[in-house]
């Protein structure tokens, strides 16, 4: 207890939970009460945001480097294991708290307009509130187990919201895929927890991180195993290679869900986890390199796929995977780059939420237009769009801001955060050359990012319109309930760089300094700072790459040559490989999913269980017993001669035993 507003941090998750309970009850018994649902659903989030702001101010006022711990009740007290339900407020969790509740509030507000006509409105807000509850538990949890509650809880909400329109098999499939793939990651998380506990005797962050340097040999097998298993969890939750495949499918959910869960918050949980466990990763250089390398590779790989997608949300989905890759490159680099990773997490939350919500507005308008004429066309296919800026100028303008931000054009928010990550990777490369490779990969991915985002904007908002003659009259800007939140996110995407304006640009690197108590313990090894000259050169390269991507796309791509999706020819050659996402889903399906199902059904169940164990074993024993019995019946056949003969044999046997 500190006697400040921070003591009431529990109110933030509790408000969200209350929203879930109330909206859940309404969903079951009063689904038509949409006004009440909106007031509750948005109200609790705004309330949580207020709590977040007050907590942040109170904590900043304390000027302490030590996390505030709040223990509520004893959860699993068993022998050496003393697990409490406890929350922790520190520099990292307050930043996450603000991002989650702030961006979350805007997206809840947007949802009021977007989901208005949906019969599952109350259920939608119940799930969304529940998601925020678990997300807050995740970022506030003071030990691995409480974090894990949030970790799996957000996965549950993601599952429920991806499959929100559950009457279509593809949606329900996508939800289940998300959950199961995440569980593969959670398997790693669970094992890591077990190893941490038996190595340090605790699961509390404070105790674990405090004892880690003594409990583990730096670079040893134990700590490397733990951190790699934790990272396996991250690849699931944050959609990195090899477990990223669920995220593109997750786009089956309502678009605001994609913005909140699958772009701004939940998928960044893995980045948060690595940052939180910076001490552990610092002890395992191999794992740090794996994190950074996987991040860089994912950034590039996902960007290549984004080049050839036609579904506007799928482009954004692969873009999210790619941007998450940058964040992992940052936190894997360690030290000050941790702050850069969190910085990118925040700016990405702004511009990617804006892009998703903007695409939501576009889909909303397209859907309304097709709905008006009962056309069966795909409302998300960019080939059916084009020239939309004339119909929705606000959305077009705001999405351009976000595009420039993600492309890394100066001086939008993403420029600063991405540049900082690449600079940190380069700096580490001066000591460990493999980081130079990561830096180069990141640079190529940045080029592709600028390219595919410009492509998205070009095909959606520019050139001739391909929606259709009759439909065109119904295209219009979304209501202000939806455009309003976009406007706020637009401002944040534009100026979000101020959060951490580096000294190079005359800033005070606020976020960097704010996070220092958390990141200073995560220093891997001393990396000499880059000279200002080198930094300027790096900035120059990054800007050149961004501009090249944007201008290149603008010059190379010809939206005028596009035809609506219905008439479009199939891609050929390498384009088709990209369009089909390098066939990774098909490969996983053929190598893992189908063999397991086949093994279970044909071998384990039908052969082993039914034929061998039950057929030959159990029923075989029964048959043997019956046959033995039948033999006995055969003897008792009523023929006196047989009885006499047997009697004589018996007597002889007895005599033989008696004499011999």
């Amino acid at each position: 207890m500190t006697g400040t507003a921070a003591d009431f941090v529990w109110l933030a998750p509790l408000l969200a939970l209350a929203g879930f309970v109330l909206n859940g009850a309404l969903a079951l018994w009063r689904p038509a009460a949409k006004t009440a649902v909106s007031v509750i659903g948005v109200g609790v989030l705004v309330g949580a945001f207020v709590v977040a702001v007050l907590t942040f101010r109170a904590f900043a006022g304390l000027e302490t480097d030590v996390p505030l711990l709040f223990r509520y009740w004893s959860w699993m007290p068993v022998g050496e294991l003393q697990l409490d339900v406890a929350l922790q407020v520190d520099q990292l969790s307050t930043v996450m708290l603000l991002v989650v509740t702030g961006v979350g509030s805007l997206i809840h507000l947007f949802s009021v307009g977007y989901m208005r006509e949906d019969p599952g409105y109350a259920r939608y807000f119940a799930y969304l509130n529940l998601f925020v509850f678990f997300m807050l538990v995740l970022v506030l949890g003071a030990n691995f187990a409480v974090l894990f509650v949030g970790w799996e809880g957000v996965g549950l909400c993601s599952y429920l919201l991806i499959g929100f329109w559950f009457t279509e098999t593809v949606n329900a499939d996508a939800g289940r895929k998300a959950f199961v793939v995440n569980r593969i990651g959670d398997f790693g998380f669970l094992l890591a927890m077990l190893m941490i506990f038996w190595a340090t005797g605790s699961l509390d962050f404070g105790a674990v991180f405090g004892q880690a340097p003594a409990a583990f040999d730096a670079g040893g097998a134990a700590i490397t195993g733990i951190t790699l298993l934790l990272f396996l969890g991250c690849t699931g939750k944050s959609a990195q290679i090899p477990l990223y495949t669920w995220l593109p499918d997750a786009m089956q959910g309502p678009t605001p869900v994609s913005a909140l869960i699958h772009a701004a918050t939940m998928v960044t949980a893995g980045v948060y986890l690595v940052a939180r466990c910076g001490v552990l990763f610092a002890l395992a250089p191999l794992s740090s390199a794996v994190v950074a390398g996987t991040g860089a590779l994912t950034a590039l790989f996902a960007a290549t796929i984004a080049l050839k997608q036609w579904d506007i949300k799928r482009v954004l989905a692969y873009s999210t995977i790619s941007q998450l890759g940058y964040m992992f490159l940052a936190v894997g680099t360690g030290g000050a780059a941790m702050a850069a990773g969190i910085f990118h997490l925040a700016t990405h939350a702004f511009f990617k939420a804006l892009l998703f919500l903007g695409s939501g507005s576009v889909i909303f308008a397209m859907h309304r237009a097709y709905h008006a004429t009962h056309s069966p066309e795909d409302a998300q296919d960019m080939r059916n769009m084009g020239g939309l800026r004339r119909f929705m100028p606000w959305t077009a303008m705001l999405m351009w801001i976000a595009t420039l931000a993600i492309a890394g054009v100066p001086f939008f928010s993403g420029f600063f955060s991405k540049d900082e990550i690449l600079a940190a990777a380069f700096a580490r490369g001066t000591v460990h050359p493999q980081w130079l490779v990561f830096w180069a990969i990141g640079l190529v991915a940045a080029l592709l990012t600028a390219f595919y985002m410009t492509r998205l904007m070009l095909y959606t908002f520019h050139g001739p319109n391909r929606t259709g003659e009759r439909e065109r009259q119904h295209l219009a800007e979304a209501p202000w309930m939806m455009t309003g939140p976009l406007l706020v996110l637009g401002v944040l995407s534009a100026v979000g760089g101020l959060l951490n304006l580096p000294a190079l640009w005359g800033g005070n690197a606020w976020l960097h300094h704010w996070l220092e108590p958390v990141t200073e313990s995560a220093v891997v090894d001393a990396v000499p700072p880059l000279s200002h000259g080198t930094e300027w050169v790096l900035v120059g390269i990054a800007v050149a790459v961004a501009v090249l991507g944007v201008v290149g796309a603008w010059r190379l791509l010809k939206p005028a040559g596009l035809v609506p999706a219905r008439e479009a020819p199939a891609e050929r050659g390498f384009q088709r490989v990209l369009r089909n996402k390098w066939y990774v889903d098909e490969i996983y399906d053929a190598l893992i999913v189908r063999p397991i199902v086949w093994l279970s059904r044909e071998v384990l169940w039908k052969r082993v269980d039914q034929r061998l164990v039950d057929g030959a074993g159990v029923n075989g024993a029964a048959r043997a017993a019956r046959a033995w019995g039948a033999l006995g019946t055969r003897l008792q056949n009523g023929q006196v001669g047989v009885y006499v003969a047997l009697f004589v044999v018996g007597v002889l046997l007895v005599l033989w035993r008696a004499i011999g």
Binding site: V78, E152, F166, R176, L191, M193, W198, L604, W605
Partner: protein
């Protein structure tokens, strides 16, 4: 006073009430059975508050029964059996209420349910091995009739298989009990079936100990069931009426793991902790967890799926028991309780939808969340608890088992942890095909949502799912001393 008669009352009351219910006219029998089972629960409830967690036996009652052979009526509970007794008395009223509209011969059905209660509680409280054996067999008979008379199409096959299979194991156990009895009698001059007496003579391992352990092992392994002794379970589960499945899964399976905890481990610690035995049992537990889960995944019949999932859950229990750490044993006890609650709830839910639609096939459904949202919501919550979502009871149990087991069997525990992936795969797939996906069968359009009576059955179970998930301390606190005592009793034994 309560301490003296509580357990005896718990044994006598359902037997008397059951016989009474049997002679009542049909419409009143079920109400009487509900009242009787609630009274039983009321008698047991103070156990929770008055139990003192000190590691010893409490609520002891001890009377001579057949003095000539050293057979006594000795009953008592410790922190292990306490929860099994409470789980039984908790599930019985729900089972009665859940069988409210069972067709045919209601008085006999509800009477048998009550008599079954006596047998089950008897198994958990007996501290005389002869009494234990009697109770173990007593419980088989009502269950045999419940499956054989009120079961599904293939009920006779399932009932006989269940009966003979269990009987086979328990007869060997009887031989082992008699052998223990004579050996202890010869060694001390006192011929007695008392648990404490036999326990005091049980520390010398030798060839006999191996044979005796083998007999106990077989009896309990069939009951758990451990792979490959599990095939009676899918048949019995599927064919049994709802209450039968709930009790089978909720309580009868726990008799196997309880038997290991109470008898097989403390009586033969040397054998149980022998390297080969440890390896074999841990291996069979892992096979159960993974094989059970994979086979569950491909079942077209939802009840069979749940049956195989039980094999998987009980694998966790066995792993936890054999790892013999405080966390793993308490985790195993919690999984035993949780499995009773969550799997019980799943069987109730299947039964409820079966009463409406007369199909257990997963393919017969699809998209029904739109028609029966409350049913769908509760099925989702229960499924999530069954796959161990943190915040539900399932997580606490499995987590403690894995955490504790990791200390002695890190590799085996890592393999067992894959069970959490498989569980998500089979249950969520089934869930999707039942409540999500397009609603194609017009018959499902006419399904009606849960009635107040059905909610009354499910809400207590849901409350436990959340309670144990969020605040398991009251449970853990009561079982810790008993678990500690067990470990201290078994662990220091010299390895043969």
């Amino acid at each position: 006073m309560y301490e003296r008669w509580a357990l005896t009352a718990l044994l006598v009351w359902p037997l008397v009430a059951g016989l009474g219910v049997m002679v009542l006219p049909a419409p009143r029998a079920r109400a009487a059975a509900l009242v009787a089972s609630l009274v039983e629960f009321a008698i047991s409830a103070p156990l929770w508050w008055t139990f003192v967690p000190d590691g010893g036996m409490q609520f002891l009652a001890d009377y001579a029964w057949i003095p000539a052979w050293g057979i006594r009526y000795t009953v008592g509970v410790d922190g292990i059996s306490l929860f099994m007794v409470l789980l039984t008395t908790f599930l019985m009223p729900l089972s009665v209420l859940g069988s409210w509209n069972i067709p045919r011969r209601q008085p006999a059905f509800f009477g048998l349910l009550l008599i079954l209660t006596t047998g089950m509680i008897g198994v958990f409280v007996s501290l005389d091995l002869f009494l234990f054996y009697v109770m173990w067999e007593v419980m088989l008979i009502p269950m045999y009739f419940i499956i054989g008379v009120w079961g599904g199409d293939n009920r006779l096959y399932a009932a006989i298989k269940f009966f003979i299979y269990t009987m086979f194991g328990s007869l060997l156990m009887l031989v082992a009990i008699l052998a223990l009895y004579t050996a202890a009698g010869r060694a001390t001059g006192t011929y007695s079936f008392a648990y404490t007496h036999l326990l005091s003579q049980a520390t010398q391992p030798g060839p006999t100990a191996w044979w005796l352990f083998g007999a106990f092992f077989l009896a309990f392994a069939i009951k758990v069931p451990l792979f490959p002794f599990h095939t009676w379970l899918p048949d019995a589960h599927v064919e049994a009426p709802t209450a039968g499945s709930v009790i089978l899964a909720g309580i009868l399976l726990k008799m196997g793991t309880y038997g290991f905890l109470r008898f097989a481990l403390p009586l033969f610690p040397g054998v149980a902790l022998h390297e080969t035995v440890q390896f074999a049992i841990v291996a069979l537990s892992l096979v159960g967890i993974i094989y059970g889960g994979l086979v569950a995944m491909v079942q077209p019949d939802f009840k069979k799926l749940i049956a195989y999932s039980s094999v998987s859950h009980l694998g966790f229990v066995m792993l936890g028991i054999w790892a013999l750490t405080l966390q793993s044993v308490q985790g195993a006890l919690l999984v035993m309780i949780n499995h009773g609650i969550s799997t019980g709830a799943l069987f109730f839910l299947v039964g409820m939808i079966y009463e409406r639609r007369h199909s257990r096939m997963i393919d017969a459904y699809g998209g029904i969340a739109r028609v029966v949202p409350l049913f769908a919501a509760i099925l989702t919550v229960v499924s999530l608890s069954s796959i161990g979502l943190p915040g539900t009871n399932g997580f606490v149990g499995e987590f403690l088992v894995l955490l504790g087991a990791f200390r002695h069997y890190p590799v085996a525990t890592a393999i067992a942890t894959t069970g959490v992936i498989i569980a998500a795969a089979y249950l969520l797939w089934a869930l999707q095909r039942i409540i999500f996906n397009p609603l194609t069968d017009p018959e499902n359009e006419r399904l009606t949502d849960l009635t107040p009576r059905e909610l009354l059955v499910l809400v207590p179970l849901l409350a436990c799912i959340v309670w144990i998930g969020v605040y398991p301390k009251p449970f853990l606190r009561r079982m810790e001393p008993a678990a500690r005592a067990l470990i201290e009793q078994v662990r220091p034994a010299p390895l043969p």
